[in-house]
Point group: C2
Chain length 479, copies 2
């Protein structure tokens, strides 16, 4: 059968062209397909199964903190969008407008949600009366649309899948607490499940969400040294509540504005996972998120007893709670090895007549390609240990990469030289003025990624203007 299919086609090496490597992996690992809808991709089974696992893990963590899921309409009437001026200015250039329903022109046009603060505010303004109705801790899983000019799979597409949490609280303190709490949920999820180390911090006013008082962010570093914003959590204070008249009668019988937050994570994190862990053989999936954690590959599967034993091993793995597959297709073992490597399956088990004779099998890690010979009856226990080791090692390697690609700069010449020559984060002091951010962007294309919660001093004065510094900032070129 092998001749009927082309061999797994080589992907561009990441050293040659990282962007092309990334696109090749998305396609060759069968995560996405192109569509006739400009700027929108089809998420194929291998890609969507990853998203389902992300949803499952995140949703569980949300619910542990008291989040309830709801669903709001996908369309926003123009006058509703227009009530909060900063939000409008931020999103108006990139929304799609519905102007006709059936054959009739609409009296008021509606946009497809680019984000749903407006709809939640409208809903809360009707649904909240008293302090007893608070807090509201709602979330929805849905798709949103932003009319981007240039698009890339997962990283930037016109339509993307996400969750958006929208909460309302009686006090500013409680809203702030929820904002930080959800950022921590994102950080823990990224680190513990996707094995992606992150920097937690606050966005500068220039980079924060339109209409927010504060935006908190988790920033990750890709293999090519570029930063990727991987999740954000916004504290709106009572800014939206004032614009949308979301009030409640407090215990003291006075009418007050609620304090709101919103927070979101998108299919973009699949892109992050590809760019943090992938290699020149394709995708490398962290075991905790991999739809198939182990693939059993029989060698000489037509030989007597091989398929029976392979099924037996798969069954034992499944019984141990491991997501195990069995590739019994007519392809050659070599082809299957390449294919499972391309698809990023964390561990494969090679099992042939000679192995069976010796009562053993070969376990091969995707991340290091290290081989371990294991007695067949010990496979479930050893495989579980191996998956755990792969998960931990992937995180450690990514963390070491981020740390070795994080530089400090105390003066502007060092800053510019570092950011231009050494891909990665540059930590530098900042005066707090937007002008310096703009100057730095103009000089280097780098942007402030965040003011990290964990502050250290890497100088005395602003790296750009030399005035007294207010805080240390992570800078980087970003996706």
């Amino acid at each position: 059968m092998a001749k009927e299919k082309k061999l797994v086609e080589a992907i561009t090496s990441m050293e040659t062209d990282f962007a092309q490597w990334y696109t090749d992996v998305c396609i060759k690992a069968d995560l996405i397909g192109y569509t006739s809808v400009k700027g929108c991709m089809a998420i194929k089974p291998a890609g969507y199964a990853i998203w389902e696992n992300i949803q499952h893990e995140l949703d569980r963590r949300f619910k542990e903190t008291g989040v309830q899921n709801v669903y709001m309409p996908m369309l926003i009437p123009e006058n509703l969008l227009n009530k909060e001026s900063e939000l409008v200015n931020g999103f108006a250039p990139e929304v799609a407008w519905v102007t006709h329903g059936g054959s009739e022109k609409l009296q008021e046009r509606l946009c497809i949600r680019p984000t749903s603060e407006t709809l939640f505010c409208d809903f809360y303004s009707k649904d909240i009366q008293s302090h007893r109705d608070l807090p509201k801790v709602y979330n929805q899983w849905c798709s949103v649309l932003r009319w981007e000019k240039t698009t890339r799979p997962f990283l930037r597409s016109r339509e993307f899948l996400w969750q958006e949490g929208h909460t309302a609280h009686a006090t500013a303190e409680e809203a702030e607490e929820r904002t930080v709490q959800m950022l921590n949920v994102y950080a823990d999820f990224l680190q513990d499940v996707l094995a992606i180390p992150v920097i937690k911090g606050r966005k500068t006013d220039k980079e924060k969400f339109a209409g927010a008082k504060h935006t908190y962010t988790v920033e990750a570093l890709m293999h090519d040294g570029k930063a990727l914003q991987s999740g954000t959590s916004h504290n709106f204070d009572d800014i939206f509540a004032q614009a949308y008249d979301v009030t409640f009668t407090d215990k003291d019988n006075t009418l007050k504005y609620v304090h709101q937050t919103s927070w979101g994570m998108t299919t973009r994190v699949i892109g992050a996972m590809i760019m943090v862990h992938g290699d020149n053989s394709g995708l490398v999936l962290p075991p905790r998120i991999a739809p198939t954690q182990i693939m059993v590959i029989p060698i000489r599967q037509d030989a007597e007893g091989v398929m029976d034993k392979a099924v037996e091993v798969q069954t034992a793995l499944k019984a141990a709670g491991i997501r195990a597959g069995l590739d019994d297709s007519a392809k050659s073992p070599g082809w299957k090895f390449s294919e499972q490597e391309m698809r990023g399956i964390p561990v494969r088990i090679e099992l042939g007549p000679k192995d069976i004779e010796k009562g053993q099998a070969v376990l091969v890690r995707r991340d290091t390609r290290e081989k371990t010979i294991v007695a067949i009856e010990e496979i479930p226990a050893k495989a579980a240990e191996l998956l755990e080791a792969v998960q931990n090692d992937m995180f450690s390697r990514a963390k070491a990469h981020m740390e070795s690609h994080t530089y400090d700069a105390a003066d502007y010449e060092t800053f510019k030289a570092t950011i231009n020559e050494k891909p990665g984060f540059v930590r530098a002091m900042w005066c707090g003025e937007k002008e310096c951010e703009e100057q730095i962007k103009a000089d280097t294309t780098a942007t402030s990624r965040c003011i990290p919660f964990q502050q250290i001093k890497v100088g005395e004065t602003c790296v750009c203007c030399g005035k007294p510094a207010k805080s240390m900032v992570y800078w980087g070129k970003a996706y």
Copy 2:
């Protein structure tokens, strides 16, 4: 605290005004809220939690049959929609059109998907080359939009949530097999989980899906005797494959068209559940779908030991795998009883100081209000039995209702009298001609619901025209 809130407001009785009763239940049971977006509702936590359980149960059953989830764009370019003329004619009057992206007018307008056959065909035309790529058994969970003039919560709203399965097969036989298989999944789910008995059958050509060769349907009967189409499964043969050029090279090396199916179930089934099981105290949820299966309600919760015991009971129920809640709010027990009845929670447990003294608690079924006194240590076991009994009895009652509201008519006078005077299904013979369906609709507003798989003879000739009958049909007034 009770005085601070109005008592649970009475809902319209279903005998007085069934439509108003239905709307009252949707609102008072906190399933939905109205929005500023015409024809679109907000699904609130209590409503969405039901949908999540529906998704979970259906998705599991889908995957057992080999279904893989994917995600296609929400927008369809006009030229893509226009390729299949029957589909266009069926859907064009009710799609919403996007004409502007940001500030620019689009060269080609795009509609928001009313259903995604076109997108899947377009995708399959690129993705399928060989018989080895078949079958494709894909599904997506998403929202769709149809520009309805009159809307009702869950039953008919402009935007609604659903799943849509789209499959491609090498042969007509395999496509037909999949069409029936998915109809059976729907029927089993409705009956086993939602406790809704259904009639399985085929739609007449007049009532089938635009562009389909056959549409199979599961039809349910609401409490008011009206029918509700609760799930459909379509066999497209190669009609769409020809329009969208979806071909494959078969084993004999010739190019052939694929054979396709699609099948969908929507948030509409939540409406069905309300209208089949609800009563004048509100919603009645089948235990297998209820987000909270049992609510523990402490009586005199400030008395010593009551809350501790209530928590102990809840914990024991959870440990037994039962979704148990505890209402420890400051409301009166009577208020809580009414509230949990309105929300349809299958069983409540009343637990006060006197009960605790006697080492017992009172279990109250929502469906019959029957009370059982149970020793506290036996609660988990007895509760599980009780939930099972509630589930089974709800199905039996709904089945008895459907059977007692199913009538036979051998001649047209009987048919018209029955359909106009006795809410329910009328079974009658049919010649197979569209003209008779149109005549019946004109005379009675009833439509053919389905040609049931289980055929029996209820006459010799077509009930309308008197010509030789081809099949027995279920007729009814429908939502």
